[in-house]
Amino acid sequence: MLSPLVLVVFFSFGSNQNATFPVGALTLDWYRVLFKNPEFWVGLKNSLVITVSVGVLSTVIGTCAAMGITKLKSTKANTVISALSLPIMMPPLVLALALVSIYSGLGIRMGVHTVIMSHLVFTQPFVIVIVNAQLANFNFASVDSARDLGASPMRSFFDIVLPNIRPTIIGAALIAMAISLDDFIITFFTIGNGMTLPTLIWGMMRTSLDPSINALGTLVLFATIGFSAIALRITKYQS
């Protein structure tokens, strides 16, 4: 299962032009080629903007939603969570088509902003489920106590709830970012003329197969693994 990934990493450091065995001498040449490609920098910038925006927005919106859901009775809460999770159960292609028809129907020009909105649709269920699970163990009597001692609803959230679920929220944000950074299908359909790192890989694959693709793939791979690893570590620390 992991072998294609290992190959990508291998080839990205090898001097062989055709990305086949033998790999050849160890080299960073393909990374140099990649960094000289102006499209790489455009894709990187867009990917960063999208990933960070999705991370922040999905966490803020998802946490608010989870707070709201916690106030509901458990049967109702489950229904709401299932409904919100529908986008991740749909085939990505169907979701992408649905989003594109919505944007064109509303006359919204497609670009980085539509990608962000689209990513929110399927990263948010993860945030909601993760934060909601954490809130289920949270003793809300402490929030009532804070209110009783003079805190406004807002203040009691920041003073009492947030410090107790902060690691979970950071973990959820990182997971949302990993999913967003990785996405190709939905990004491809909703970005219009722009590009992100994954769509750049696709574009490069169609034109050339030089190992700078592997260099790019390796970068994306390590960024995704990095986000997920930190997320796992942080959320594990808590329990």
């Binding site: 009597a141 106590s145 009783d148 001692l149 406004s152 410090p163």
Partner: protein, 360 residues
């Protein structure tokens, strides 16, 4: 709408509730009442689980908006205020300590919100922590506290705010008996030392009787009787109160033509009043093993069925000759003879020591 039950008293009421009620959908958790809480009193809301005690307490604290009626605290209408705007503080059933703050930070939190100057804040916090015997525990986290210590932190955190009314919701019921008794003593001491108005919710009649200067007995969303522990014990207004507050023997009968007839009684007794079904309520401590030289209004024969030793007193079950069992207690003094199980004897009590309830 139903007429509000008035149990308002005169005097200096610090909390004044008028026509106050709370419904959840069709379920009326608290029926419309007028209720006053006097400055400096220690009021216990006593009743079985589900009778609406917490609902009433949360309305006073601002956690539940009443369905009808108004609440005034210190002359100000606070009906629409949230808890942060009321000078009340509530000690919750589960304490609700802040898990990420030390004991000291927990206690100082309210003062910090009120922007109390640092020096004054530290002084007040220290004084309160030592009042509840938590000196030395300032830097502990709540998870590292025993149940009794957590309870004290919750109490200190509320008391440090110098609330106009301190509200407590079954806050001792999670503690074991020994600790609960100690905390009751401490609560009484603190109330005496600091003064202030306390409202205490409990389903434990002993707790209510040992702490409160006034008890309000609740049932099914109604306050069914109010008064001092002695009042309520000696003059219960209903079978429910008689059974819930203290132990009681209850004998059903009928009053007709100024005479009481009860199948369980072996004697006829005169009683004034209209003809109706009645219940005679007799507390176990007013019944005596009959002294042959004395006259009793009520007297009957029975057999000692069981005898339990409680240190300061003995408790007996006496089977009357036609089946009914009467409970009685005997305070011990060295001179007393104590009947044995199986012994046949006469028991008796006087009409002025028992209570005759007309049919409900």
């Amino acid at each position: 709408m139903r007429e509000a039950k008035t149990s308002a008293t005169t005097g200096k009421a610090i909390v004044r509730m008028r026509g106050l009620s709370k419904s959840f959908g069709d379920n009326v958790a608290f029926h419309p009442h007028d209720l006053d809480i006097q400055e400096g009193e220690f009021l216990a809301l006593l009743g079985p689980s589900g009778c609406g005690k917490t609902t009433l307490l949360k309305m006073i604290g601002g956690f539940l908006a009443p369905t009808t009626g108004t609440i005034e605290i210190s002359g100000e209408d606070v009906t629409r205020y949230g808890p942060e705007k009321r000078r009340t503080n509530l000690v919750f059933q589960g304490y609700g300590l802040f898990p990420h703050m030390t004991v000291r930070q927990n206690v100082a939190y309210g003062l910090k919100l009120a922007q109390t100057p640092k020096k004054q804040m530290d002084e007040k916090t220290d004084r309160m922590l030592s009042l509840v015997h938590l000196d030395g525990y300032e830097n502990r986290m709540p998870q590292a506290l025993s149940g009794g210590q957590a309870q004290r932190v919750a109490l200190a955190r509320a008391l440090v705010m110098e609330p106009t009314v301190l509200l407590m919701d079954e806050c001792l019921s999670a503690l074991d008996l020994q600790l609960r008794k100690e905390m009751q003593d401490e609560l009484r001491t603190i109330h005496a030392a600091l003064g202030g108005t306390y409202v205490f919710v409990t389903h434990d009649q002993n707790e209510a009787m040992s702490l409160a200067t006034r008890i309000a007995v609740m049932k099914d969303g109604n306050i069914v009787q109010q008064g001092s522990a002695k009042d309520i014990y000696e003059n219960p207004a209903s079978r429910f109160v008689a059974g819930f507050v203290g132990e009681a023997n209850m004998i059903k009968g009928r009053r007709a033509g100024g005479q009481i007839h009860a199948p369980d009684l072996q004697c006829a007794v005169t009683s004034d009043g209209v003809d109706c079904d009645i219940t005679i309520v007799i507390r176990p401590d007013v019944i005596e093993f009959a002294n042959p030289e004395l006259q009793y209004d009520f007297a009957m024969l029975g057999t000692v069925q069981s005898k339990t030793y409680f240190g300061s007193h003995l408790s007996y079950d006496v089977d009357l000759d036609h089946g009914r069992t009467i409970k009685l207690t005997q305070t011990l003094s060295p001179a007393d003879s104590t009947p044995e199980v199986g012994q046949q004897l006469r028991i008796g009590w006087n009409a002025d020591r028992c209570k005759i309830l007309e049919a409900e």
